[in-house]
């Protein structure tokens, strides 16, 4: 146990160089990309020279980049991520609004991915080369190749418009937004279509990895031994095969969860979901650097934390992996 705590602490220390690396990279990007953030504030209309100068001074934009970096880092250490050039709102309050939505969508999408992806993968592996297997493989191929934006609009047309007209609203689903008092639907219903859309691509990949891993494991000697012991097919698959086949699947789902937590621009756009992906994307196009920097820094921390959790979870599935001890092999 102590070894595990030491391992986790060590991983935490690794956050520091990664964090510095990422912020330096972002500052370098700022220097390279053309586009003056101050001009962007007023858009098509020109900004007055006095206002221009004021914004430059307020944000230290006239200082050398390394001095700006100093200001930024010292701010972060005090919990201050700065404020948006365009909106004037503090970056922390912007992301305090956005991350809960992103997290809700990511959890819902991952749940869809796990339940459907794993079930499809397991069924196709057990019934390999059957009609069912082919049907499932074909449907996952279709899902992988369907553009997210198009799938989203298609689902909206079907569940939001067609079902509403045909069933008089009984089986319809909301088209956009995250709910709240202006919606006729409960909040959780708003998650259904975005979660399915966001999960669609990775769901298909999860199913494929699950299928191939399980097939590989099922052909191993120890599975034959298990059958020879007289275990039922169900026991062999759940207790012996599945546990061993899970590691690559968990790795994939974990990485996918990390990327979903960093926002899903297309899904968020097509469903007007107020998540972080679109916020950061728009901030990049507007050169609103404080939002870009703050968002990316927070995402890096979250992704690193998720990766750590995945690594720890390996130990639960595979007893041979023990962290913080000497390896015998």
């Amino acid at each position: 146990m102590q070894a595990m705590v030491r391992y986790i602490l060590r991983r935490f220390v690794q956050f520091v160089p990664v964090f510095i690396g990422v912020t330096l990279l972002l500052f370098a990007m700022r220097a390279i990309l053309p586009g003056d953030p101050v001009l962007m504030i007023a858009g098509e209309r020109a900004i007055s020279p006095a206002t221009y100068q004021k914004i430059v001074e307020n944000n230290h934009l006239d200082e050398p980049l390394h001095v700006q970096y100093g200001y930024y880092m010292s701010g972060i250490l005090q919990g201050d991520f700065g404020h948006s050039y365009q909106k004037g709102r503090s970056v922390t309050s912007i992301f305090a609004d956005k991350f809960p939505y992103t997290a809700r969508l990511a959890v819902a999408a991952i749940a869809v991915e796990i339940v459907i992806g794993l079930t499809v993968g397991i069924v196709s592996a057990i019934k390999k080369y059957s009609f069912m297997d082919m049907l499932l493989t074909l449907s996952t191929s279709v899902l992988v190749s369907m553009p997210v934006f198009w799938l989203g609009l298609l689902l909206q047309s079907f569940f939001g418009i067609w079902m509403k007209k045909v069933t008089g609203g009984a089986f319809s689903l909301p088209i956009s937004g995250a709910g709240g008092p202006i919606s006729a639907y409960p909040d959780w219903v708003h998650l259904i279509l975005p979660a399915i859309t966001l999960a669609s691509v990775s769901l298909a990949v999860t199913a494929r990895i699950m299928r191939s891993q399980l097939l590989e494991v099922l052909s191993q000697d120890y599975i034959r031994t298990a059958y020879a012991k007289g275990l039922s097919k169900r026991d062999v698959i759940i207790k012996h095969a599945l546990k061993n086949a899970m590691i690559p699947v968990i790795t994939f789902i974990g990485i996918d969860f990390g990327s979903m937590m960093s926002g899903a621009i297309l899904t968020e756009s097509v469903f007007s979901w107020p998540g972080v992906g679109r916020e950061i994307y728009l901030a990049i196009t507007a050169r609103d650097w404080p939002i870009v920097m703050g968002g990316v820094v927070i995402i890096v921390l979250i992704v690193m934390a998720i990766n750590l959790l995945i690594d720890i979870s390996y130990a639960l599935f595979d007893p041979r992996i023990r962290y913080g001890t000497n390896r015998a092999d």
């Binding site: 990309l33 586009g35 098509e44 020109a46 007055s48 609004d97 047309s157």
Partner: protein
């Protein structure tokens, strides 16, 4: 002339407007208030009250007057705040809003506004002259927040603006004086008769003392308008406003408006098709379907059941900005050739299904003083283009370099620029398309690092001056063609001081003539609405400035 309260509704229901006399007298027309809707001769009384109007917008930049500047923020903010005056595009007259009347001195430098008695803010505070002073100083104070307001230019004419906003030697606007609770006196640094139009801008509405808490106020502004915010602005989701029952004017029929914030037009249109929105934008390519399915509004601005598609003109112009400082493009005849060569009708038809219309000048219809076909070089004529090119010294384009046609990616700019490129090629001018991201494009224009580009200009106030001064006065930030003509500059400043409306408009038309004779830019087309309402929406007016009238709108149950 008897002074009486005139409200928005009396105008919308078609009351006659008495003449507006300037200089000294009390200005606002007297009208008898008429609460009954026209038509029908009192046969069936329809209950017009109640219901929530579901309205599509994009995420606004600000809904606080402090920085209210683009269409989305103004659509919401104009419901929450009433400025001193309002403008009725149908009668081309100023109408009272927070001010019941006003006086102007003889040289158009001192404006006295008499506020409506009994008006209240949504928190119950009375609306006084001091609240206007507070609001305007909040705009001009560069240290109140970061970024400082980018729209303090509205008040650049007010005495003491420079000291407060630029030099920071004053903490208040010297020219804004509270005479008493209901009288506000504004002194300008130079004559500017159009200032009464400036104060129609919703960003110049009053703010109560509660605005001191800047962050809370920006998220949930408290105004004096017909609707008040319910809760706060839920970013990227919605803004809900409710009818303000203590409103000084006619109260809205509807209970409230849900401004649904949706980023993609296609998605908003899907919501509309599912009956979840009462008002939305029409995605490209769907206009004909909408006209067939929902009918067209008679005048393009007012929607009623069966007349739901709104295609009325907006007060903005899409134009090709030409770098007048370029060694070739400084040649007036060459600019004329370019402008003559652009087939504007083809652009409007091919790219916009005929919804937008060819521009025949920089000033669009809807602005008082608009004249048909006033910019001669804006009328497509290939032969004249060829002649002008020869007169410029470049017959058939000989001796000209390849010009860059710059534009920002997105929208339909690429298709427009491709058509212009082929038009110019026809007369012998070679160009290459130069597309870039918006941020880079703005840099490029500001630095003057371009030959020709595209821009769209939407006015803040419904006056010719708001095109001529920002776009063509020497050295202005928005004068991106770097046009400079002392004669035009002097004429603009002189026109600003004329207090008689008709004379002033004539003077601006003369300025427009001076400018058009040298073709500093090539106007291409006038923007139009492309919006549609649901069948339950009645008497909804969406004007040329894209400000909706939600007070007179009612919903069929």
């Amino acid at each position: 002339m008897e002074k009486a309260k005139m409200t928005r509704r009396t105008f919308v229901t078609g009351a006659a407007v008495a003449g507006v006399s300037l200089a000294g007298a009390s200005l606002l027309a007297a009208c008898k208030e008429d609460k009954k809707e026209e038509g029908g001769g009192g046969e069936v009384e329809v209950d017009k009250t109640g219901g929530t109007f579901k309205y599509y917008i994009n995420e606004p930049a600000y809904i606080d007057p402090y920085n209210m500047q683009e269409s989305e923020g103004i659509q919401v903010g104009s419901q929450i705040f009433d400025s001193l005056l309002d403008y009725d595009y149908r009668t081309e007259q100023l109408i009272p809003a927070a001010a019941a009347s006003y006086d102007i001195n003889e040289d158009a430098t001192v404006f006295t506004f008499h506020l409506q008695p009994g008006a209240k803010f949504h928190n119950g505070d009375p609306v006084t002259a001091a609240d206007f002073k507070r609001a305007w100083e909040r705009l001009c104070n560069p240290n109140i927040a970061d970024p400082p307001s980018e729209i303090s230019y509205h008040l650049a004419q007010v005495l003491g603006y420079e000291e407060m906003n630029e030099l920071e030697t004053a903490t208040e606007l010297e020219g804004v004086v509270v005479i008493d609770e209901l009288t506000l006196e504004v002194t300008l640094s130079d004559p500017y008769a159009d200032f009464v139009y400036v104060v129609t801008h919703p960003a110049l509405g009053p703010v109560p003392a509660a605005a001191e808490d800047f962050e809370a106020f920006t998220e949930a502004p408290i105004g004096n308008g017909p609707f008040m915010i319910d809760g706060k602005w839920e970013h990227d989701q919605y803004i809900r406003v409710l009818r303000f029952d203590d409103y000084y004017g006619d109260k809205p029929f509807i209970d409230g408006v849900d401004f649904n914030i949706i980023e993609e037009v296609e998605v908003a249109f899907n919501e509309f098709l599912a009956d979840n929105l009462d008002f939305t934008m029409i995605p490209p390519g769907r206009i004909e379907d909408c006209i067939a399915d929902y009918g067209s509004s008679k005048d393009g601005f007012v929607a009623n059941p069966g007349e739901q598609t709104l295609l009325g003109p907006e007060i903005s112009t899409y134009y090709i900005v030409i770098n007048n400082e370029n060694e070739y493009l400084s040649n007036i005849k060459l600019r004329e050739a370019i402008s003559y060569a652009i087939n504007r009708q083809a652009i409007c038809e091919i790219v916009f299904q005929g919804v937008r219309v060819p521009a025949d000048g920089i000033i669009p219809p809807g602005i008082a003083g608009y004249r048909t076909g006033v910019w001669k070089t804006s009328l497509y004529d290939e032969e004249k283009a060829i002649e002008a090119l020869a007169e410029a010294g470049f017959p058939e384009g000989e001796g000209l370099p390849v010009f860059k046609l710059s534009y920002n990616t997105g929208g339909a700019h690429q298709s427009i620029m491709e058509l212009i490129q082929s038009d110019l090629k026809k007369i012998g001018i070679e160009t290459e398309l130069d597309s870039m991201e918006w941020a880079t494009y703005l840099d490029t224009l500001s630095a003057g690092n371009y030959h020709m580009g595209r821009l769209g200009w939407i006015v803040d106030y419904p006056i010719m001056e708001n095109f001529l001064f920002p776009l063509f006065y020497t050295g202005n930030g928005d004068n991106r063609s770097f046009y400079s003509n002392i004669e035009a500059d002097e004429a603009i400043l002189a026109a600003r001081g004329i207090t008689d409306n008709a004379e002033r408009i004539a003077a601006y038309q003369a300025v427009d003539d001076i400018i058009q004779s040298t073709t500093p830019v090539a106007p291409v087309m006038f923007y139009r609405h492309s919006r549609v309402t649901s069948v339950r929406v009645n008497n909804f007016y969406f004007g040329p400035s894209m400000i909706p009238d939600l007070v007179n709108t009612w919903l069929t149950k």
